[in-house]
């Protein structure tokens, strides 16, 4: 196989090269990259008028390598060979592209709808430039669930409206007695068209939208977007800016992990843990508000800029981490909780690898992946937590350990801070002469977030593509639920805690 990057590839951004590929060579090129240890990070389609352009972004860490394969197809007959045989996540990107751009993946084993539900008429592709206003909804398009038949099999439909304050998603359980035979998660109820909302916005002034992609990952999505725009505009920031930004992402990780550790215990009826983690979460939110002026860390990170109001007190963070460790120990000392967590919803390492899982879901199944090490903006002493059993207990333990590791990282960043709380990029003489692209990669609390932007010479965003780790991890949930019983679903689902908004966009 050829070396990567290919000598014919041209540099297009930080650690990133692009290479034009003819559609008929795509499968061979992709197979070569996957064999060389790259993963498919993102697929972005673009409507360039007479042609549709598809960018496949492949990523590999240590050292940071980013390779883009660029394929163009005529708008009149957009067809691409499917990569489904090589990569499961590619097969889902292809279904998304078919729904939004009408690009047909030839030979796809499951060419069904993904983003657009049954009421969207066939042949209307919202991301095409000539799409116009949405047409009236129809009732005609088939989009059935696969029926499971057999003696005593029944279906439990759950959602999209759920009890409690959570996002919309429909789960269809096919069950015998209490054992789950098949689970189908139907998402995209909260598809807002976020990617097209970015189009036409000033590249330096669109971070507010990125912060709202998934409300619990405001800092991480905001940072991924900012990094992508900086990559496109050629902005560079000093090391201390990257360290301040890393601190905010770690604060976000702490808030979410702390809340979920209590929520996991609460889902097996141990509300004592929830009451105490809610207290710690509130304390962390107040620290976030004092640090950035916003409880959810919005508004501090912008392209070419980072601004903090103050630095958190490291001793206070350490005390919160110690409290959390005590709560986690209390929960794990309870034999019933251990019994509920152990061996529940197992995701094997092979499954996690095949599905392309990211974040703590992958790390709990023995697949070490962490963008803080693979695609660093600044070298940080990151400790990667890991487990190998892939059950609810493993995901609980990984998150407990990440709270401790993240606290050490955050307090280290605070204690070594230079004292400057507002840092800007070096000024650049002029913007890009032509359309330039940028990629931003951040390890949010759920896993690796990838943003890819294209900016025109006027400094406006022409296309933004976003991939939340939930996109990769959602298929893992039904996989892990096989052989699990129905009443264990809520705690299993919570142990994955995937974002609907981040997936549906």
């Amino acid at each position: 196989m050829s070396t990567h990057p290919d000598p014919a590839a041209i540099p297009v951004g930080a650690h990133r090269v692009a290479q034009r590929v003819a559609p008929e060579n795509l499968v061979v090129e992709v197979a070569g990259l996957l064999d060389a240890g790259f993963r498919l990070g993102l697929v972005a389609a673009h409507d360039d008028g007479p042609t549709l352009r598809v960018v496949y972004l492949f990523l590999a860490g240590a050292p940071d390598r980013r390779i883009e394969l660029v394929v163009t197809v005529p708008v009149g007959d957009p067809r691409l060979p499917t990569l489904a045989a090589l990569s499961f996540s590619a097969s889902r990107f292809e279904r998304e592209m078919h729904d939004l751009f009408g690009i047909v993946p030839e030979g796809h084993p499951l060419p069904r709808r993904l983003v657009r539900h049954a009421h969207w008429p066939a042949g209307w592709y919202p991301m095409r430039r000539d799409a116009g206003e949405p047409p009236p909804f129809t009732e005609t398009e088939p989009y059935p669930f696969v029926p499971v038949e057999g003696d005593g099999v029944y279906e439990i439909p759950v959602g999209p409206v759920h009890a409690g304050v959570i996002e919309p998603g429909h789960f269809r359980f096919s069950v015998v007695g209490e054992s789950i035979l098949k689970l189908k998660a139907r998402l995209w109820f909260t598809h807002r068209g976020v990617e097209s909302l970015f189009e036409g916005l000033d590249a330096r002034d669109a971070v507010h939208l990125a912060e709202r992609i998934s409300g619990d990952s405001a800092a991480a999505h905001g940072l991924a977007h900012s990094l992508a725009v900086e990559d496109a505009l050629g902005l560079t920031l000093p090391d201390e800016a990257h360290r301040l930004r890393a601190l905010l992402v770690e604060l976000e990780r702490l808030v979410n992990h702390v809340a979920d550790i209590g929520a996991l215990a609460n889902d097996v009826g141990f509300s004592l843990a929830l009451a105490h983690t809610q207290r710690l979460r509130e304390e962390l939110l107040r620290i976030s508000a004092a640090t950035t002026g916003h409880r959810l860390l919005r508004g501090s990170i912008r392209p070419g800029h980072v601004a903090l109001l103050s630095l958190p007190d490291p001793a206070r963070l350490e005390r919160i981490a110690a409290d959390l460790a005590e709560i986690a120990d209390l929960a794990l000392a309870n034999t019933v909780i251990r019994d509920r967590f152990t061996g529940t919803a197992v995701l094997t390492d092979v499954q996690a690898r095949d599905l392309g899982c990211l974040g703590y879901v992958a790390r709990a199944s023995g697949v070490g992946t962490d963008a803080r090490l693979e695609h660093p903006t600044t070298p940080l002493p990151v400790e990667v937590a890991g487990q190998s059993d892939g059950d609810v207990l493993s995901r609980f333990l990984v998150r407990r350990d990440e709270v401790a590791a993240s606290t050490r990282l955050a307090t280290g960043l605070i204690r070594s801070a230079s004292g400057r709380l507002v840092v800007d990029a070096e000024p650049v003489a002029d913007g890009p002469a032509s359309v330039r692209s940028g990629v931003g990669i951040v390890e949010g609390w759920r896993g690796t977030i990838v943003h890819r932007v294209e900016v025109d010479p006027d400094g406006r965003l022409t296309r933004v593509t976003v991939v939340d780790p939930s996109w990769f991890n959602w298929p893992a949930l039904p996989t892990a639920m096989a052989d699990t019983i129905v009443p264990d679903f809520p705690v299993s689902n919570k142990s994955f805690n995937l974002s609907y908004a981040g997936n549906d966009l």
């Binding site: 009890a163 889902d267 019933v336």
Partner: protein
């Protein structure tokens, strides 16, 4: 039996009716305080009932008379149990029917009414909850029967008043092996029957884990109020029965005086409150069992009840 005995029965029904929401509220409040929360106060279930009773009566499409009458059957059976079992006085006018088999039958009647209502809605959750509830009920009812049977051996009667008066005549009996085993078995089945931790979590919002709550998901407004009231009353009468079977101190006799009634009322209120608070305090530290482990727990309690019967009959025949 005198007129005051009839008053005693009325006090029992009225007390359960009015006191059940406070029992539930007290348990929630204890739990909240022990978890470090401020809680809604012990009057909160009453405020919830008042709110629900003012709401519009809704009937899900396709449901039948089964769905409509089930809450009344559940509440009525609980009230009837309250009238006949010896809570305040041994002299209930319905004493002749205060047979332990009758009481277990009434308890089961309430359970079956709600399970049928769960099936009547035709929803997946209703059916799922009913299936789980009946699985548990099938394991719980025989245990209650056996446990009370063990207690009936010393008094040579299945009449509850006779069992209680035998126990109050011989307080040491409460510490006999058979009684202790039967007590533990009864505590476990009461926890299961009333849907408390570790069998069911009454405060969960997760439909897929629910047992009792899944059956009654389609209820709203006044009927939901009745269902919740009924489940509070079941808990209250079962705790009251448990208290008096083992610690009948203070209960008024078959021919009660006014003072006896007052003492009996105060005694049962204190006993139920103590038991409820103890149950709530224990719940703070336990989690919900995996559904497939619940039968193991109930099988254990059945075994304890069986041992209780054996121990009691052995001791009774040895005497």
């Amino acid at each position: 039996m005198n007129a005051l005995a009839a008053v005693g029965a009325v006090v029992q029904v009225g007390g359960v009716l009015a006191g059940a929401p406070f029992v539930v509220g007290g348990m929630k409040q204890v739990r909240a305080r022990l978890e470090g929360r401020s809680g809604g106060g012990i009057g909160q279930p009453w405020r919830d009932l008042r709110k629900q009773l003012r709401k519009q009566q809704l009937r899900p499409t396709g449901t039948t008379v089964v769905f409509r009458v089930a809450p009344a059957v559940a509440a009525g059976s609980a009230l009837l149990i309250a009238a006949i079992i010896p809570l305040v006085t041994l002299g209930s006018p319905l004493d002749s029917s205060a047979d332990l088999f009758g009481v277990v039958g009434l308890l089961f009647l309430g359970t079956v009414a709600l399970t049928l209502a769960g099936l009547d809605t035709g929803t997946a959750f209703g059916g799922m909850g009913s299936s789980r509830e009946i699985t548990i009920a099938a394991l719980v009812e025989p245990t209650i029967l056996l446990a009370v049977f063990a207690l009936s051996l010393p008094g040579h009667s299945a009449n509850l008043a006779a069992i209680v008066s035998a126990a109050s005549g011989d307080p040491a009996q409460a510490l006999a092996l058979g009684s202790v085993l039967a007590f533990v078995a009864l505590v476990i089945v009461i926890v299961a029957e009333t849907g408390r931790l570790p069998v069911d979590n009454p405060s969960t919002h997760l439909e897929l884990t629910m047992i009792h709550e899944a059956m009654v998901l389609e209820y709203s407004g006044p009927r939901l109020a009745l269902v919740e009231w009924a489940s509070g009353m079941r808990l209250t009468v079962l705790l009251g029965l448990l208290a008096n079977l083992f610690l009948p101190w203070g209960i008024a006799g078959a021919e009660p005086s006014l003072l006896g009634l007052l003492v009996g009322t105060a005694a049962i209120a204190v006993k139920v409150a103590v038991l409820a608070l103890a149950l709530a305090a224990v719940e703070v530290f336990i989690a919900k069992l995996r559904l497939f482990r619940v039968p193991e727990l109930l099988a254990g309690s059945f075994l304890l009840a069986l041992l209780a019967v054996t121990a009691s009959s052995f001791l009774a025949s040895a005497r």
